[in-house]
């Protein structure tokens, strides 16, 4: 197979001298969906942020290397790192409403983002945005674009989040607990929309969540994290059905499943 989309080699991350991620190695190919599961504090979100280069103050990659399409992006800073965010990789947050400036419209912020990376005109951007929203099954794109973040419902808000992350057609989409704030009915819709992005644009997706159901439904590969370490990593079916690591076993056993009628 060709070059991996994302390749993490022995990555360790610490915040103010305290190691929160230890020696994690992961690889994913273009168009693949990788699910990272683990409980709160397991380091899964930190890992995601290190790929974006957004560890924040006090956080740094203290060991190992991160490659994006063969380029070492571990210690990229400033402009170099910024240019990758958007066209190279997009991010979806748990609460899209909060990840957007509250006093500016969605469309305004979308244009700001696109114009940082291209010289498209506003109308052109809106056109592309509406086209993308159309693919998410939303005919009335203007309404989302002209709304302020607080005006959107949970489901709408998550669509705006997908739009923001996908407008520049990045090859890698990072989703941090994208469905945790949503009701179950909306959750399934959001999951389907993300998968549709993969089908349409061949985007590789990393989804971090504590919800095993979501990962089981959408991921090709699953990584299980526990106390900052990667305890299990493999094909989704294998990890769920025959977990090797004791923690993974405990985790999969703990998931309560709805007993449906045997079809």
């Amino acid at each position: 197979m060709s070059q991996p989309l994302l390749d993490m080699r022995h990555v360790s991350i610490s915040y103010d001298g305290e190691t929160v991620v230890r020696d994690v190695s992961l690889q994913m190919n273009p168009g693949e969906i990788l699910g990272i599961v683990g409980e709160s504090g397991s380091g899964k979100s930190t890992l995601l942020r290190s790929v974006m280069g957004l560890l924040g103050s006090g956080g740094s990659v203290t060991g190992g290397e991160i490659f994006y399409k063969g380029q070492n992006i571990t210690h990229r800073k400033g402009e170099e790192a910024r240019k990758l965010r958007g066209p190279g990789m997009g991010m979806i947050f748990q609460n899209t409403g909060a990840a957007l400036c509250p006093v500016r419209t969605v469309g305004d912020q979308l244009c700001e983002c696109v114009r940082e990376h291209t010289d498209m005109g506003r109308e052109e951007i809106r056109g592309q945005a509406k086209e993308l929203l159309g693919k998410l099954g939303l005919s009335d794109g203007d309404r989302i674009l002209d709304s302020y973040p607080f005006e959107l419902s949970g489901g709408m808000s998550q669509r705006a989040g997908i739009l923001m992350a996908m407008i520049l057609k990045p090859d890698l989409l990072l989703a941090d607990e994208p469905t945790s704030a949503l009701d179950v009915t909306v959750q399934k819709q959001a999951v389907r929309e993300m998968m549709r992005m993969r089908d349409l644009y061949g985007t590789g997706i990393v989804v971090v969540t504590h919800n095993i159901g979501v990962v089981e439904y959408m991921a090709d590969k699953i990584a299980v994290m526990y106390q900052g370490k990667l305890v299990e990593y493999g094909d989704a079916g294998t990890v769920i059905r025959s977990p090797q690591d004791p923690y993974t076993r405990k985790l999969t056993d703990a998931v309560l499943r709805v007993r449906r009628r045997q079809a």
């Binding site: 910024r82 965010r85 991010m91 983002c113 302020y148």
Partner: protein
Amino acid sequence: MKRYILKRVLQLVPILFGITLLSFILMNVGTADVIDVMESSTGSALTEEEKQEMREELGLDRPLPEQYGRWLLRALQGDMGESFVSGRPVFPEFVSKLPATISLTVSSVLVTILISVPLGILSAVRQNHFTDYLIRFLSFIGNSLPNFFVSLLLIYFFSLKLGLFPVMGSSGGWKSIVLPTLTLAIAMASKYTRQVRAAVLEELKKDYVTGARARGVRERKILFGSVLKTSMLTIITLLALSVGSLLGGTAIVESIFMWDGVGKMAVDAIAMRDYPVIQAYVIWMAVIYVVINLATDLIYHYLDPRIRLGQEEA
């Protein structure tokens, strides 16, 4: 929006009523007999009959609620009584001195904004760097200096030692406003710089900043496009609140610099126990403050879509 303005203006009515009532009570409770005060401040000796006559003439023998009603009616027509000392009507006197105070206030607010908004932002952006520590240190000093001390220090150094500005009075052209403005601005800017810093820091911590970074938006754009836009809302409100302490501060500063505004008028009146003047001063300063706060609230309302649109839905 129109409905909101109307609502807010209507809400003012009880407040204004309260202001007048409180001022009236203040001037009538715990005071010595007004006529005695008048007697001593004009320096004329009056007989008991003459005093009684004057009381009847002024309606001072009536029950207090009635006195209040009469007084309020007259006040609404712009008649706030006559000064015990000069015998001239108080309200025109107040109005004639207001421009001096307003120009001092406005210049202080402008200087405050010019100093503290850039410094506050700089301090927040360079949090925990040398610049931040220096700005915080300076604002700390400014915060601990009472304005009467600052004015005396400024006079001592700039007027007496360096001879750059006139010591007092409002007749020296633009130069005479510099020191009083600086005095008021130093105190206000010190407080306000900290508030701007805190407001910007608060916004910088929010998720939307991470969100914008994740979309590859330049730091400069995040700061000036989003962060300032949101923190400006807090900053405007805080500015309006600081105007309150400014309006109070003018009294001391005006009297030190002999700046012929309403503050000095009030301080002079206090020495003479010239109650009608003090009363007019208190009421009108409160009214001005209330109007400023109302204006701020409406601006805030207009600028913040969260509130603007939330209201329209209702």
